[in-house]
């Protein structure tokens, strides 16, 4: 074992031995008789132990509430012996009057449990007048007191107190009352901290409480002047009848203390924080009387005016009008339902828009509530709306009062509105809301209902429609081809016959040579025309010498032959239309030339 370790062990053993010998645990109260408005301090002191002191476990305290804790430690080494004391301070607030016992408190020190002696305290009404030790700013265990000096100046308890002020202490259920917590002081307060603000039972606390102003006013109590500061102001609405208790309101504040010499401003010092509390107060809440209450009583307590108005006095049937019913006055309107709307037959109405305003002030509650209806007249004429009534309870007179508004007159132009635009006002138009999906409804039987008929695609008509084009086009093809063939046939026939026909014409012409008739030339020309026409499968009637020349050129007849043909035709023309006799020789010569032509044309036109 090394020297350093052995030294540490020795110290530990020494400390343990010391704690085992001289540990003392004590509990004390700074007063054994306090007022319910006062606070008291419970001190648990552990002396003789330097280490291993754990926080005491406070038992349940009847009639007292722990508002705060603090600790202090002092340590000294005398003659090589270490002595220490550790204090746990509990700020206690009495909750009710009576005598209460603070049971033994267990404190664990160095693994062993020590118990304090039980204590008793008596709580009386009000505040105990003789200033408590604490109020003088020093307690026996004040860490500064051994040095003989009090840091905080003294505050006279008579100079500082708290009060609660009620606007009324006899109210009807539902009638608002104003609660104000006041600080009365002859010093200037330095800030305020709420220590204990128990929840209120049996009251509705209006949230919109206006802030209290921080500047105090001067008030005289028992011939002494005080600054009075309103710390907290609330508007309460009793929700049940009977005697309701307003619990104490606890707060702490420090004060600025001067010597009183107006020139000695620099000597001003801050006092220790003081805990102050108000007295509990009883409030008598009377139930609303039965007498005079109608079945449609609105529940409003206070004093109210009812008003109804329309945004227009003239309107077309089917157009929307806004009807506003408003209620305003002193008192709470939170739970008030819309005044009974008189019969609105002949109007379509929609759910009202509700506006609710409440203002809480030092005088109590002022409320305004309005219901805005969109109504649509369905037919023309002069309509009367209302009157509206609302019964409320007036606590001042202790009686029920009925407020009324209307009736209003509305002139509606036009006649009945068609059903078509039912269901939607201009203001309340909305999408079709699907409530539930379902299958579609049954169908009507068709006109022609019966047994199954053969579908069209199986009917002969369908097949006929498919096959008909095929057949008629086949027929058409056959017809066209036959016609074509017939046409070709006749051409060949003509072509073949052409020579023979031409020669028979020439023969006939030869018979005319004897008579010397000019018809000879006509026959000769006709024979030639006819021949070329037959050979070319064209009609002879439209042919002229020039068109014959073109036709023959197309078919490849040489120029010599064409010239000869043209000459022959020209000669016969000339002979036909010029006066004078033609000799037989002349005619025969022409006939020979034509015959020769026919022979030589036969080959290229073949």
């Amino acid at each position: 074992m090394r020297p350093r370790e052995s030294l540490a062990l020795a110290v530990l053993l020494f400390a343990a031995a010391a704690s085992a010998q001289d540990v003392q645990v004590e509990a004390s109260l700074d007063a054994d008789r306090v007022g319910i408005q006062d606070a008291l301090t419970l001190t648990v002191t552990v002396s003789g132990a330097a280490t291993g002191v754990s926080e005491p476990e406070l038992p349940r305290l009847d009639g007292l509430k722990v508002a705060g804790t603090s600790t202090s430690t002092s340590m000294s080494i005398v003659n090589g012996r270490m002595s220490s004391s550790r204090s746990f301070l509990y700020e206690l607030l009495p909750q009710q009057e009576g005598t209460f016992e603070i049971p033994a408190i267990a404190v664990e020190v160095g693994g062993e449990t020590y118990r304090t002696k039980p204590l008793t305290v008596t709580v009386v009404a009000g505040s105990v007048a003789p200033p408590r030790a604490r109020a003088r700013g020093s307690s026996p265990l004040d860490p500064f007191s051994p040095f003989g000096r009090s840091r905080a100046p003294d505050i006279d308890a008579e100079d500082v107190f708290a009060r609660v002020e009620l606007s009324k202490d006899h109210v009807y259920q539902g009638e608002p009352l104003v609660v104000t917590y006041w600080l009365y002081t002859r010093y200037s307060p330095l800030g305020m901290q709420v220590e204990d603000d128990p929840p209120l039972t049996g009251f509705w606390v209006e949230e919109n409480t206006t802030k209290t102003d921080s500047s105090g006013s001067i008030r005289v109590v028992n011939g002494r002047e005080y600054y009075a500061y309103a710390l907290e102001r609330r508007v309460l609405v009793p929700t049940q009848s009977g005697t309701l208790t307003l619990p104490p309101f606890t707060f702490s504040t420090a004060f600025r203390v001067t010597s009183g010499d107006p020139w000695d401003l620099l000597s001003a010092r801050s006092s220790r924080p003081m805990t102050l509390r108000t007295e509990p107060r009883a409030i008598e809440v009377k139930p609303l009387p039965e007498a005079g209450r109608e079945s449609g009583f609105s529940g409003a307590v206070g004093e109210f005016d009812l008003e109804a108005k329309l945004d227009r006095e003239e309107v077309d049937a089917g157009d929307a009008v806004t009807l506003t019913v408003s209620l305003a006055g002193k008192g709470s309107l939170r739970a008030v339902e819309a005044p009974t709307v008189a019969d609105l037959a002949g109007f379509r109405t929609f759910d009202p828009k509700v506006r609710d305003e409440t203002h809480a002030g030092p005088q109590g509650l002022s409320s305004a509530k309005s219901w805005e209806y969109v109504i649509v007249p369905e037919s023309g004429g002069t309509k009367e709306l209302g009157p509206w009534t609302l019964q409320y309870f007036d606590p001042e007179s202790g009686r029920y009062v009925t407020a009324s508004a209307g009736p209003l007159t509305l002139r509606v132009a036009g006649s009945a509105v068609a059903d078509l635009d039912r269901g939607a006002s201009p203001d309340a138009r909305r999408e079709v809301k699907v409530l539930r999906e379902d299958i579609r409804y049954l169908k009507e039987p068709p006109e022609r209902l019966g047994t199954r008929s053969r579908p069209y695609y199986e009917s002969p008509l369908f097949y006929a429609a498919l096959l008909a084009p095929l057949f008629w086009n086949l027929g058409l093809v056959v017809f066209l081809r036959r016609r074509e063939r017939e046409k070709t046939h006749s051409d060949v026939f003509r072509s073949r016959r052409a020579q023979r026909m031409a020669r028979s014409r020439l023969k006939r012409a030869a018979a005319l040579t004897a008579s010397g008739s000019k018809d000879f030339y006509e026959e000769v020309a006709a024979a030639l025309y006819r021949y070329v026409a037959d050979k070319s499968s064209v009609s002879a009637s439209g042919l002229t010498p020039s068109s014959i020349d073109r036709l023959l050129e197309e078919r490849g007849v040489d120029a010599e032959l064409r010239r000869e043909l043209g000459e022959v035709l020209a000669r016969s023309e000339e002979a036909r239309f010029t006066p004078g006799e033609r000799t037989r020789e002349e005619m025969e010569a022409l006939r020979d030339r034509v015959e020769a032509l026919l022979v030589s044309l036969e080959k290229p036109l073949g």
């Binding site: 049954l442 498919l466 086009n473 066209l480």
Partner: protein, 246 residues
């Protein structure tokens, strides 16, 4: 004698299908759905075949809580009147309630559109289109045979090409519809739940569990068992009485 006459009169009234429709509808309106379904079934048994009858019967079954039969009859109605919005809406509504999810892969938009068009066209309409196209085409061919002007011939040829495409499409669709109607390959599961087995007979292992209202395709048949294929591609056997062909 008078009683007999009355009976005859009643019989005549019942024989009048419109009267029977009215009766069934009043049962339906009174929420006596099972009785309404029975009334419609009686009409069908009497030989009335109509899409409206199928539709109303489907509605009655739907309200009576028989989802499978409702879907079966909606499908039948759709076969008879493929373009009818009411039938389609109710079939879709009923299909929403199916226990089995439709896990067939989604189709590309163009094909989906074509399938939708195919579903909505009735065979009769297709047949009418086909006949009109054929007649028009025939007229055009005739004109082509007789007309010699080059410009007109080109116009006729293009028109003919378009008509040929329409004819091919509608002809193929019609053929497909006729074949599927003849084959009656689609069927609806009517039992609450049925097991698809790997072979005909209860000894075969179960492949899948399917529920009322599911549409399956019948691909084979053997001794009271039907071979079916599901939309997810699974093929197996079901007892013939578990399903009914559309």
């Amino acid at each position: 004698m008078r009683l007999f006459a009355l009976a005859l009169l009643l019989q005549a009234a019942y024989d009048n299908p419109r009267e029977a429709f009215r009766k069934a509808e009043s049962l339906y309106r009174d929420q006596r759905y099972a009785e309404a379904a029975e009334a419609y079934e009686t009409m069908r048994a009497q030989g009335i075949e109509d899409g409206v009858l199928d539709y109303n019967l489907g509605n009655a079954y739907f309200k009576a809580g028989e989802l499978g039969r409702a879907i079966l009859n909606y499908e039948r109605a759709l076969k008879r009147m493929p373009g009818d919005e009411d039938v389609r809406a109710n079939l879709d509504f009923a299909n929403e309630l199916l226990a089995d999810e439709d896990d067939s892969p989604p189709l590309p938009a163009v094909i989906g559109w074509a399938v939708d068009l195919y579903d909505r066209l009735s065979p009769s309409l297709l047949a009418v289109v086909l006949s009109v196209v054929f007649l028009l085409g025939g007229v055009l061919v005739s004109l082509l045979l007789t007309e010699h002007g080059a410009g007109l011939r080109t116009a006729f040829l293009y028109t003919l090409a378009v008509l040929a495409v329409v004819a091919l499409g509608s002809g193929a669709a019609l053929a497909a519809k006729i074949v599927s109607a003849r084959g009656r390959v689609e069927a609806i599961v009517l039992e609450d739940n049925a097991y698809v087995r790997s072979g005909p007979g209860n000894a075969s292992p179960r492949l899948a569990e399917i529920h009322e209202g599911l549409k399956v395709r019948v691909v084979g048949e053997r001794e009271g068992w039907l071979q079916v294929s599901l939309s997810n591609g699974l093929t197996g056997w079901l007892p013939a009485d578990a399903i009914e062909r559309i």
